[in-house]
Amino acid sequence: MSSGALLPVLILAVMVLTFGALLIVGTGLLGPRKVIKSAAKEMPYECGLPGQETKDTKVSVRFYLTAILFILFDIEIIFMYPWAIQYMDSLKDGSGGYMLGVMGVFVGLFVIGLIWEVKSKALDWK
């Protein structure tokens, strides 16, 4: 099996999706047929309180700010992967110091960004 072939991944994904779909359709068919429809049952579950469908729930800025900061720091980590992979080789052929310097500057910017985020209370979840 040539290592690195992508087709098995697709085959497994299709198998998993059909397995899940069969499960859902199967439980649908196996369950009791005469489903008692009642408004109370259909309402979203809110621990017994009558559902108040307020127009716009209080929108917290924190969620999408965390997602934005996640993207930016994730890319900085992804840039570290190629560097980490060849770090041992560059140590062996003597260019370790240069590699360390290049990544030191990059990680320095990463740390400055992180410190600024923490200090600017962007990540406080109060």
């Binding site: 992508l6 991944v9 497994l12 998993v16 996640f70 990463f110």
Partner: protein
Amino acid sequence: MPQIQLGLGVDSTETIINVIKMFALFLLMVQLVPLLVWVERRGSAFIQNRYGPNRVGPLGLLQLLADAVKFLFKEEFRPKKGVAFMYYFAPIMALLPGALSFASIPLSVPITLQGENWGPYNFVLQGYDLGIGIVFILGISSLGVYSLLMAGWGSSNKYSLMGALRASAQAISYELALSLSLVGILMVYGTFSFTEIVAQQQGPLTFNFMGQQQVWSFLPNWGIFYQPLGALLFFAATFAEANRLPFDLPEAEGELVAGFHTEYAGFKLLMFYIGEYGHMLVASCLLATFYFGGYNIPGVTPAEVTAFFASYVGEGNLSQILTAVTYHVSLLLRVLLFLWVFIHVRWTLPRFRYDQLMDLGWKTMLPWALFNACATAVILWLFQS
């Protein structure tokens, strides 16, 4: 019809064997849920000094079979205002990350089987061997967030949407610490593929200190001795990724009823559990592969084990298969140990509050992971020169 060369095997029999092996590995993960739920209920009972399920079958083992059958026959329910497609696709999507990641982890030593008519065929207990193991698993586990968001949005319930957003915010914050702790592993091993990482962990602990080789033969050459802090960060981050206590606030009963899977019942809820336990299984396998020597048995090489079985069973397929089984059992012991740690922590540690949880992720785990990566780089540079 053009003859299709799939990447799966030399001839059609090998391809069929590989496809069956892949599905068997997926079923191995799916049937793990009843086992782990049983261990969890008995274990928590043991911790809280009570019995746990013991009515149905010996030691309550069949309790899970009874639950599964009960779940199968539950009434099909969907909230009226729910978004049908997303409501049904979310549990299916929850299965995908665990299955695809588990299939890429090597579970045993590759062996070669030889029959009279079918040629030498090397068999490895692994779904598929992608050259880039680590990056693939990180990519697939970052897709797990979609099943949370779809479940939250599909059940059109204010609380489950909030639970889904909280769970995904937590999952992505801890993914940073997870991928940063892997940078240390990449530096030490210099490769992405799992088989090479496990191969580099054989033999006694050898590292070069100030230029000359140091061999400590009493310690195995495991990753934990190179990356102790990395292992701790990795394990803690996988707790948060799998929404396990102490990081399971989004699903906590007290907080948001049951978070994103409030409106789910029956087998759909069980599929979310399969996803969660699958994530736990992958995390334990990764921890064993990176830091505890994968399927290596310290002090013994695969050739010796095959020779040992050959002396009893005679040269041929059986001794090869027995070697593969022993190496698989050695990995399984480590994985079960870590799964027990997952369960043990659930019943001993209290739950974090949400702001503490996010602060821990961003303000302590991420800086420590960064420190670990930089410290590894500097130490490697010092030791190397």
